[in-house]
Symmetry: C2
Subunit: 411 residues, 2 copies
DNA sequence: CATCTTATGTAAAGAAAAATACATAACCTA
DNA sequence: TAGGTTATGTATTTTTCTTTACATAAGATG
């Protein structure tokens, strides 16, 4: 009947993974729910939960649930028990952050990014920025749980590499997970930015929605999908590439991808800027377009409204194929609001069968920078606390405890 | 050290679910693999496997795997340990079958079907045909494990009902699972026929493929998807509805659905028959069209080839959105073979980005009747043996054992 | 405030599974 | 056929989890 104990009397975390996983996934918020959900006995749950509480991995909230009798104390992951490092590689800059487990940013940094630098130099820059952020976190933030990267290109998620030739020249087949994993010794994830924005929208705003489509309309056009509650990546990680769906017509414009008639070449930020410039209103970026829309410039309003209809056409196709429950429109051009949405709605409701549109909502994404960063954190945390993997997290947490209890060397 | 025993000395099946599930999913074919995959000790695995073997739920095959030393005996589900009842509701007939767990048909029947009959009369007809098939199975086939139905309409899979108004008038919101479940007391599944054909192609031919698209080109056009290894249904079970994606043009023909320019209205069996008739070659069904193709009738060849291009256009969209690893073309018109395929390939490779087509295979489905029936069986068996549910199966198997050991009453 | 209800903790006994250690099986090779 | 190799079974001990039974906690209710 002896109980395992750590160096200084802390109870052992052995087997506590199932409990931790249930709490993290919010499948069980109270002890009573843990009993039912885990199928373990009260004694075992009590003991393991005690260990998790003692280690600070889980905490009890102030609030309680009234139940008729003694109220239930609510359990949750202790957001301060660890932290994660995330980075989003943009066109000109890399935005990095250290986040607690909420996830919430508690430290961040930005470093310049240039394509020609190639993977190693870039990862080197990311790694040293990460190290600075980790130092800033100090010991109060607990253990580094993992690293998650957002890239502006299709990603082979399992292998942790850029999928095929892409914007990130020279990155094809570079083993990002291996490189960062060797450097930091923690789990590393790499995912496409639009997919991560999709994850953010689902986790943060629509946790109950199992089938959703997120469309990013910015300089380019891309999309991500949650299917059956999981991110849908496709065979090469190229799923959701709606920007290059083509519509044949006589005046099909040339796309950045080299083909004619892509949706992007008609309705993306760069295409609208091109058209505005052509009409004598010099415009460069998607932001410029939005500025003009906000100034109620008629040409801009007209072109954005028209872009909505064109995007609505592809989205209608996607709705027929995917039958999502919710569509979230994000990206810079989403700031045009109804000006963009109305065309999308029009085409979707016109083109799709009633069964697919009956309960379909089309909405704007939360206006928020950094959604890819948060998505990266959600993705990472989801995996760390997954039933099949929690034990690794616990093993690392335990071994850290031991180290921290050693004499504090100042070397 | 006492071992639980059934009435007549059969060992208890308690806890054997995990083992059974691993064998059923082919995650572990030998005892050694079971040890690793289950994480249980050899003693436990041996004991539980012994119980499964004693009950006849699992069997050892003749073949062995050479391993350098004593060869491994291969384990598999005993296909005779139970059977399932499946039915496919077609346009004019219902095809029913009793299948062992291979799954393989060992008895079948066909009953007429007329739409106006409505759900109850139809299910009554199915139920009595099922009862006849079950009687035919006798006791040699073991226990009835479950029932699975294929319907020619979108289905709300979880609720087991027809999704919204459809071809099956009067079926909306009729609780099929409840009705059949009450009658037979076994798990019941209901799914759309194209989805089931998709399941068949995946389980039977492409078990390693996690992302595939199945397109049925027959009288109508429909599709099913496997995404991340699982059937992708969408929010209302309406996913894969590619037949009614529209292409605007001046001569957009009227579709059966009441809209203009649907793919179906241009390239489905009925549309080709319409066009052939219009050209003075009276044709009614998709089969008629195929007959003409097989006779190398130029008009038919031309129209089918053109249909391939039109279908290729939607499939290209679907490829951009879904990024499947394999596309399987089935349905009556697939018998046109390359005549149909070439147009599809042409458009897909022309329209889609290299990343998505680089490793994409486009192939014809196995020529095979009843694929929906087999899909129904696969779907059912997959669920019955799923880790979370096997214990129910075992419980039913155990209780049956007891009953069968009682005196044989002839009442 | 007494009492009801549900939540939660814990000790002790019993059951189940794992670890260990050994024994046996079955094919291969020389 | 002897000996190597891996597969598989089983008795014994040890560990882990459950069951049972009881005790305590804490808000709700009258």
């Amino acid at each position: 009947m002896k109980m395992h104990e750590g160096r200084r009397g802390l109870p052992s975390l052995d087997g506590a993974g199932a409990i931790l996983s249930l709490i993290a996934s919010q499948s069980a918020a109270s002890r009573a729910e843990l009993l039912k959900a885990s199928g373990l006995s009260r004694v075992t749950v009590t003991q393991r939960l005690a260990a998790l509480l003692a280690h600070g991995l889980v905490r009890e909230t102030e609030e309680t649930l009234r139940s008729g009798g003694r109220p239930t104390r609510i359990l949750e992951i202790n957001p301060a028990s660890g932290f994660v490092l995330v980075a989003n590689i943009g066109e000109t800059h890399i935005h990095l952050a250290a986040m607690d487990l909420s996830p919430a940013i508690f430290a961040q940094a930005t470093v310049p990014f240039a394509l020609p630098a190639g993977p190693e130099a870039t990862l080197e820059a990311i790694a040293s920025a990460f190290q600075a952020l980790a130092a800033e976190a100090g010991s109060a933030r607990g253990l580094l749980f993992g690293i998650s990267l957002s890239l502006p290109t299709p990603v082979d998620f399992k292998r942790g590499r850029v999928a095929g030739p892409s914007v990130l020249q020279g990155w094809d087949d570079f083993d990002i997970i291996g490189w960062l994993g060797a450097r930091f010794g923690v789990p590393v994830f790499v995912e496409n930015d639009v997919n991560l924005m999709t994850v953010f929208e689902q986790k943060h705003r629509l946790p109950a929605e199992d089938d959703m489509l997120f469309v990013k309309v910015g300089t380019g056009i891309g999309s991500g999908m949650i299917a059956g509650g999981r991110l849908f990546r496709g065979a090469q990680g190229a799923a959701g590439d709606i920007g290059h769906i083509q519509f044949v017509s006589n005046d099909a414009p040339l796309c950045r991808c080299g083909k004619f008639g892509c949706v992007e070449a008609r309705a993306a930020g760069w295409a609208i800027a091109r058209d505005l410039t052509q009409r004598g209103i010099p415009t460069e970026t998607a932001r410029d377009v939005i500025d003009l829309v906000e100034q109620r410039k008629p040409e801009a309003l007209m072109l954005v409204r028209e872009a909505g209809r064109i995007i609505g056409e592809v989205i209608a196709d996607a709705v027929s194929i995917l039958n999502p429950g919710v569509i979230v429109i994000g990206g810079t051009l989403a700031r045009a609001g109804e000006t963009l949405l109305s065309g999308i709605r029009e085409l979707v409701y016109q083109r799709c069968l009633p069964l697919a549109t009956r309960e379909l909502t089309i909405t704007l994404s939360s206006v928020h920078e950094d959604t890819a960063l948060f998505g990266a954190a959600y993705l990472l945390l989801d995996d760390l606390y997954a039933p099949a993997k929690v034990h690794q997290l616990l093993a690392r947490a335990s071994s850290l405890e031991q180290k921290q209890r050693r004499p504090k060397s100042r070397g």
